[in-house]
């Protein structure tokens, strides 16, 4: 029985199960990060304290930030998204169930890779969650902890990329008939916005992390050169970093909108404006990151633009606040726990948002930058608005996830203790504007003692509130009163789609863990045979796959090997290869079966396929990734007064011929795709084979080009300066993409050796998109690296 339970949780691809996994894991990481915060507050409670040494404190403050932002707040929002988006839009599951499981396991193992830094020599990452350069260079942070943290973040970036493609495709493609965009619930809308931000922000982080690891491990000089290295990291990180803080916030706002409608018994005021505000937030959030760089010495005009843009982002939020208040006007408010947390979240958000306006000023930032004023601001928005909103979501959706009710009195107690504790910690910080951030201690003559003591006392109270919360969850799960299918009288589909008697087919708690095969695939009452929807064993079994966890484990071990040594790296690669081959083999033998979603609302993508949409979303994020990489190249070139003239290092004719070879492989691929579309499939396999052959020739020529450069006299290597760094990293990453494409081509040839089905034809078309993209990138890389 334990074996079945284990197999279920390790191999599940069902969205509700994956939602539960995200939920539990995110609270686990929150617990770790909160402990770190408690240690920090204990250390700062009195002047000259000796509870933590500087080395320990720096690790605590760094890991607290990383774990809270990447491994708690955002995944908790994703947990709810996983669980509730399909029912809210009338779908059976997410678009790509195995990718869903994959994104969870990547996230979980990535967290372990980062956290393991604590047990490595030199300790965990300690340069702040913002990883500023040159402090993060191998020279100033020789410890493996920083390598591991960056590796963990790379894994999370992969997780997020997979997850955003999945959820975006689901929302665009799996809506039930009649579920037009404007009928979508607000939570789904705000997850949609979150996914859009993640799609275009995380590639920037990924590019930065790859360059950082390359600096640390290969001796390149992206972030350590005097020619703008620090500022390059600043730009690349914050282009990601600013949208990221809204990624953390928007799911909570979406949940608060749901809670508001239910507990005021009204629909949201001006829903269309709320949606428009969401789009505005997504767009503007990418234009304001420079407010983190006001004092770096960038030119004043750019600073003024960032001030104006940052102020501008408060406009959609102002509209949202009016919408919330107006929804309550002449309504019927019921102050149940979810509503209390929703109101608390918004009130705290107001304080956070207003102090954000202070920070938007290029002049006021002069005193505020790097001080506890900023710490107060971002904790108000992140902890206050986001966390309280997500607490509210937990109280709201718990009955649906478990079939049990949480205790109202414990919930209200949790709220009161939390809001008091929270404000005690962070409000005093606005009066600590002279106190720098991230300092391990301070002297008594600064006068910062009393306010810090209040904050630290507040932190103990706040933690006590979390303990109340935890006990509420445990009590309810173990022996809480059973919940009906719609205890709050919600009107969105996750509540109303089950009208029969007894507990709804959704929810883990509707049957005890250990009974096999629990993932019900639909809320159709006619399919329910027991208290928990049962589809036959075979189908649920086919919904399991071990490949996501294997692949995640392999990738994580391989990247952990960056910090722990080459043997570990190889071990991880072996596991990763085995998982990939296994996944391909599963597909070749059609071992994983998911019932098809009937066609519903798909505007504006009515005439395309789900996989094509997913591939396009992937390409969209890759576009930003390469854009940031090439943009970094442009950045360092502009900052570097000398750059070798074209032709002085590289062999242009050889590279030109190689370019034509790659472009010709693009031709054969495009011909293959066109043949498929017109039905002339006789020569498609030959064309695929030609593409493969040309691609291999391209890589061989590239390899020999690299060999000549590395062994030339003088040798041209990644370490010989920025021209070397940029050349090898950019062509290397492009080359990796080519190799991945060649592997996929081999798979395609194997898969199509026994004839064609519509699915196989479609796969060729999807691959054609990827290959065209790889060509397109080279069309930029070739002139930028060789010709200008």
């Amino acid at each position: 029985m334990v074996k079945i339970w284990l197999k279920r949780w390790l191999y599940t691809t069902d969205h509700k199960d994956v939602g539960i996994l995200y939920f539990v894991t995110s609270f686990y990481f929150a617990f770790l990060a909160a402990l770190l915060a408690l240690f920090m507050r204990t250390q700062l409670a009195i002047p000259n304290n000796k509870f933590l040494a500087a080395a320990e404190y720096n690790q605590a403050v760094t890991m607290h930030g990383l774990l809270m932002v990447f491994w708690f707040l955002s995944p908790l929002g994703i947990a709810f998204a996983n669980y509730f988006i399909p029912p809210q839009i009338g779908a059976k599951d997410l678009a790509f169930p195995r990718l869903n499981a994959l994104s969870y396991w990547l996230y979980a193992f990535g967290g372990l890779v980062t956290f393991i830094g604590f047990f490595s020599p030199g300790g965990a990452a300690n340069a702040g969650w913002t990883n500023y350069s040159p402090l993060t260079s191998i020279q100033f942070s020789p410890n493996a902890g920083e390598t591991l943290a960056a590796a963990g973040l790379i894994i999370v970036s992969a997780s997020v990329t997979v997850g955003t493609i999945n959820i975006l495709t689901t929302i665009l493609f799996h809506r039930a008939p009649g579920m037009t965009f404007m009928k979508m619930p607000m939570f789904t809308w705000f997850i949609f916005f979150t996914m859009l931000q993640m799609l275009w922000a995380f590639p920037s982080l990924l590019a930065g992390l790859i360059m950082l690891e390359s600096d640390r491990l290969l001796g390149t000089m992206f972030f350590t050169s005097v020619a703008g290295g620090s500022i390059l990291w600043d730009n690349v990180f914050w282009f990601f970093g600013h949208p990221e803080v809204y990624v953390v916030l928007l799911p909570a706002i979406g949940a608060v909108m749901e809670i508001f409608q239910v507990f005021t018994n009204r629909t949201l005021y001006a829903k269309k404006i709320a949606v428009a505000a969401g789009f505005a937030i997504v767009t503007i959030s990418f234009m304001i990151y420079g407010h983190h760089m006001f004092l770096t010495g960038i030119n004043v005009t750019e600073q003024e633009v960032f001030t104006i843009n940052t102020e501008a982002v408060s406009l959609p939020f102002g509209a949202l606040m009016v919408i919330f208040v107006a929804t309550m006007y002449r309504s019927a408010v019921k102050l149940a726990t979810p509503m209390l947390f929703a109101l608390g979240s918004l009130a705290i958000f107001v304080v956070g948002g207003l102090t954000g306006v202070f920070n938007s000023s290029l002049a006021l930032d002069i005193a505020q930058r790097g001080t506890f004023f900023v710490v107060g601001h971002f904790h108000y928005v992140m902890v206050g608005a986001s966390l309280f909103g997500l607490f509210g979501a937990t109280y709201y959706w718990w009955p649906k996830m478990t079939g049990k009710m949480l205790s109202e009195s414990l919930g209200k107690l949790h709220f009161i203790v939390s809001i008091i504790g929270f404000n005690l910690i962070f409000f005093p910080m606005f009066f600590l504007m002279d106190m720098p951030r991230r300092i391990v201690t301070y002297t008594a003559d600064t006068g910062w003692g009393p306010l810090n003591l209040i904050a630290s006392i507040g932190s103990y109270i706040f933690i006590f509130g979390h303990l109340i919360f935890l006990s509420n969850l445990v009590r309810s799960y173990a022996r809480g009163p059973p919940a009906g299918p719609n205890p709050w009288h919600g009107t969105t589909l996750e509540w109303t789609s089950w009208k029969g008697g007894g507990p709804s087919p959704m929810g883990v708690g509707a049957s005890s863990i250990g009974r096999p095969l629990l993932s019900s695939l639909s809320a159709d009452p006619h399919n329910v045979k027991s208290s928990h929807g049962s589809i036959g064993p075979e189908i649920a079994h086919q919904h399991w796959s071990g490949r996501p966890i294997q692949l995640s484990l392999g990738l994580s071990i391989a990247l952990a090997g960056l910090g722990f040594g080459f043997p570990i790296f190889v071990l991880g690669l072996v596991l990763l290869t085995w998982a990939l081959v296994g996944w391909a083999s599963d597909d070749l033998h059609d071992r994983f079966m998911v019932p098809d979603e009937p066609p519903g609302e798909r505007w504006p993508f009515q005439t395309t396929t789900k996989l094509k949409l997913g591939m396009w979303a992937f390409i969209s994020s890759e576009f930003t990734f390469f854009g940031v990489l090439l943009g970094s190249y442009a950045f360092v070139r502009y900052n570097f007064s000398y750059w070798p003239p074209p032709g002085s290092i590289h062999n242009i004719p050889v590279a030109g011929v190689n370019t034509i070879i790659l472009l010709t492989s693009g031709l054969t691929m495009l011909l293959a795709v066109q043949s498929i579309k017109t039905g002339a499939i006789k020569h498609v396999r030959t064309l695929l084979g030609s593409t493969l052959a040309l691609g291999v020739v391209f890589m061989i020529i590239k390899g020999s080009e690299w060999y000549d450069l590395l062994t030339g006299s003088p040798p041209f290597t990644p370490q010989t300066g920025l021209p070397g760094s940029t050349f090898f990293v950019i062509t290397g990453i492009h080359g990796a993409h080519v190799i991945a494409g060649l592997v996929a081509l081999v798979y395609l040839l194997v898969r199509t050796r026994n004839g064609w089905t519509p699915g196989k034809r479609a796969t060729v078309e999807h691959f054609g998109l990827y290959w065209a993209f790889v060509d397109m990138v080279w069309v930029f890389v070739f002139p930028l690296l060789y010709l200008v």
Binding site: N58, V226, G297, F358
Partner: protein, 218 residues
């Protein structure tokens, strides 16, 4: 140049901060007030438990439009005021009327070099005339600030950021030296010694400063 009666450019800072504070208190009080008041005023009475039947989109846009317009007006004012203050911060005096000091941050202290080549670590002695600081770093990303005078700039390897100040004639904090003192501190995490990367600004009278400047000691 005669010495300033208030610290510059810090004097402009406080009035800007107060402007933002007034707007923030007004906006915050109204919004949070509604968030607290409305649930009480419009609380559920009796049996308003029936599911909502209204399907029509609620709300005319006038209220939102009004709030947006008010916000734009407020934010334009604050932006303009900020630009003005920043401009003042940027117009530093030249090295004929001010003392121009090179500041180099390193792990974990501040190195000051005067025009005559005199080099001191951790202590910046000036007189009450304008001082221009040219700030850079020898290693990692630091941030140089004299919070009491409301000036700060980042110290980055390969970059030189210029800031200026003029200490006031009257003093609020006398230090060990017997003169007016201000704390100098680093505001960007720079390693193990970040918390201890401090210094002292000492504002002397012209005679004492002149003696100091021409001497060889720290």
């Amino acid at each position: 140049m005669a010495f300033a009666s208030v610290a510059e450019p810090a004097a402009t800072y406080q009035s800007l901060f107060n402007l933002y504070l007034i707007f923030a208190i007004i906006a915050g009080t109204i919004t949070i007030g509604c968030l607290i008041l409305f649930p009480i005023l419009y609380r559920r009475r009796g049996t308003d438990e029936e599911p909502r039947t209204e399907k029509k989109e609620r709300g005319n846009l006038k209220v939102i439009g009004l709030v947006i317009v008010l916000m734009i007006a407020t934010l334009s004012t604050t932006a303009y005021a900020s630009f003005t203050v920043k401009d003042f911060y940027l117009r530093h005096p030249d090295c004929k009327t001010a003392i121009c000091v090179q500041v180099e941050g390193f792990q974990w202290a501040w190195n000051f070099t005067y025009p005559n080549g005199k080099n001191v670590v951790g202590l910046l002695r000036v007189q009450d005339t304008p001082v221009v600081l040219n700030v850079t770093s020898r290693d990692v990303f630091h941030s140089f600030a004299i919070q009491g005078l409301r000036i700060k700039t980042d110290a980055i390897l390969g970059r030189h950021n210029v800031i200026w100040f003029s200490a006031p004639g009257s003093c609020s904090s006398f230090g060990k030296s017997g003169f007016c003192e201000y704390r100098i501190q680093c505001f960007e995490l720079c390693g193990l010694g970040h918390a201890f990367m401090t210094g002292r600004l000492i504002v002397m009278d012209p005679t004492s400063f002149s003696n100091y400047y021409n001497s060889s000691g720290p």
